[in-house]
């Protein structure tokens, strides 16, 4: 039994992991682009970007998942997600990427705006280009400042992936819960918790390591 459960949960965890990794791959860079939009001096760019961030951060991810999955079909009669498991996974991924990009963009914005103007000015009077100032002077300071909030957000993402089950993406908790119906046992659910704990523990160690690496300057 233990072996059957382990194998089933591993299968679910693989789905969880795929959603986690792909969400990060797309939302970390997309968040940076959104943050530039939200800091833009041009108000026709800034205003809509800030509006979208407000909507996405102000509504539950669960709601966004449902709207993104069912919305196109019901409103536009268009089957944009394709059929079957693959289609549902893509819909979930899109919802996660949009949601997390907005959160990351606010962290980036906070980090970039916390760098004192004097750092830019020192670079300018030394004849550096804007590009050089950003990459050689500002960027590493921003990274150092955003590692703690980003790692917090990433660990939240590990657990948020379980919301994908609302549109029937067979992630690990879905698989764990199936044993309640099929075998009348609850311990597989606790077992899923172990997966989460181990994985977030691993991430905590990783981010602790990065923070330590960047502690050589203030």
């Amino acid at each position: 039994m233990f072996q059957t459960v382990t194998l089933t949960l591993l299968e679910g965890f693989l789905q969880t992991l795929r959603l986690f990794v792909l969400t990060l791959v797309f939302s970390l860079p997309l968040g940076l682009i959104i943050s530039f939009g939200s800091m833009s001096k041009i108000s026709i760019i800034k205003a809509p970007v800030r509006f979208v961030i407000w909507v996405i951060r102000g509504t539950p991810l669960m709601l966004q998942l449902l709207v993104i999955y069912y919305g196109p079909g019901i409103i536009f009669h268009a089957n944009v997600w394709g059929s079957g498991d693959g289609g549902r996974f893509i819909a979930a991924l899109v919802a996660f990427v949009i949601n997390y990009s907005c959160y990351f963009s606010e962290i980036y914005r906070g980090g970039i705006q916390s760098i004192p103007a004097g750092q830019y000015e020192a670079g300018q009077v030394l004849g550096m280009t804007k590009h050089q100032i950003f990459f050689k002077v500002v960027l590493l300071q921003v990274i150092k400042r955003i590692v703690p909030p980003i790692s917090n957000e990433i660990i939240t993402l590990v657990k948020d992936t379980s919301l994908a089950r609302v549109i029937a993406v067979y992630e690990i908790i879905w698989e764990g819960q199936s044993f309640i119906k099929s075998a009348g046992i609850i311990w597989p659910l606790f077992y899923t918790g172990v997966f989460y704990l181990l994985f977030s523990g691993l991430l905590t160690i990783l981010f602790g390591h990065i923070e330590k690496k960047l502690s050589y300057f203030r």
């Binding site: 004192p116 004097g118 750092q119 000015e121 020192a122 670079g123 300018q124 009077v125 030394l126 004849g127 550096m128 280009t129 050089q132 050689k136 002077v137 590493l140 300071q141 150092k144 050589y216 300057f217 203030r218």
Partner: protein
């Protein structure tokens, strides 16, 4: 020949005119000190010279080379300004060292980047020159330290070395000791005095009146965005003619 000539410089922020028609010139090797109360436009003037602010009107010439002329739009473009600002160096009140680089790297960073685009600069000499400057500043044993490991006075001396490494024609100081406690102020003023002795061309904004008096060739007293009085230290500090200068110096003496 004048190394720097500023004519009819004006600068407003929104509707507040901070610099109201300033003209002055200085010679090679001179030390000019700018004094005056807060809000008189001293810092804004330095920031205009370093193109951190774009003047609304006026002309800035270095060795007869027009760096800025408000009537010539091309002289206001960003790329034009980037090269020309290297005629000036600026030492900030708050040092503004780059925290992730060591003292030595703070000095070599900009020259190294410049050497990449300007092949006439010998990149192999940059590090030695930086080490030389640090030892002039009395910081040979601090080359590998990060800014947060240095005292304020040491950080400011690194900042001075960093500015000197770009070989500016005119080195500007914006209240270089205002963020330092009295004990550390001395070591920074000593370094600036040393530079004055070597006839480094400098413009210094400061509230250190006795320092201004014995280091300057010329003192400029600014009030409400204009030069209210200028002359030798003896003229301006010991025998001020302008009523505002008299008032300012009297208030200053009262506090000290």
């Amino acid at each position: 020949m004048a190394v720097l000539e500023v004519r009819n410089l004006k600068k407003s922020f929104d509707s507040t005119e901070v610099i109201h028609d300033i003209s002055f010139s200085m010679d090679e090797g001179e030390t000019v000190t700018i004094i005056g109360s807060s809000g008189s436009g001293k810092t804004t003037l330095l920031r205009c010279l370093n193109f951190l602010e774009t003047p609304d009107a006026g002309v800035i010439k270095v060795r007869d080379d027009v760096l800025f002329d408000s009537s010539i739009p091309e002289s206001r473009s960003e790329e034009a300004i980037r090269k020309k600002r290297l005629h000036f160096g600026l030492v900030f009140q708050s040092f503004n060292l780059f925290p992730q680089y060591t003292a030595l790297e703070n000095i070599t960073l900009a020259p190294t980047l410049l050497a990449r685009e300007d092949k006439s600069i010998d990149a192999t000499l940059i590090e030695n020159r930086a080490k030389e400057l640090l030892s002039d500043m009395g910081l040979s044993d601090r080359m590998g330290n990060y800014p947060h490991e240095l005292s304020g006075g040491q950080q400011q001396r690194v900042a001075i070395a960093r500015a000197l490494a770009m070989n500016p024609d005119i080195l500007c100081f914006d209240e270089p000791t205002s963020a330092l406690d009295p004990e550390l102020t001395g070591e920074v003023l000593r370094v600036i005095r040393g530079l004055a002795k070597q006839h480094t061309t400098m413009i210094i904004v400061t509230h250190e009146m006795s320092f201004a008096k014995d280091v300057s060739d010329k003192i400029i007293f600014m009030d409400k965005g204009i030069i209210a009085e200028e002359g030798s230290p003896e003229e301006v500090i010991d025998n001020p003619k302008n009523e505002r200068t008299v008032q300012f110096l009297a208030n200053y003496k009262k506090v000290n």
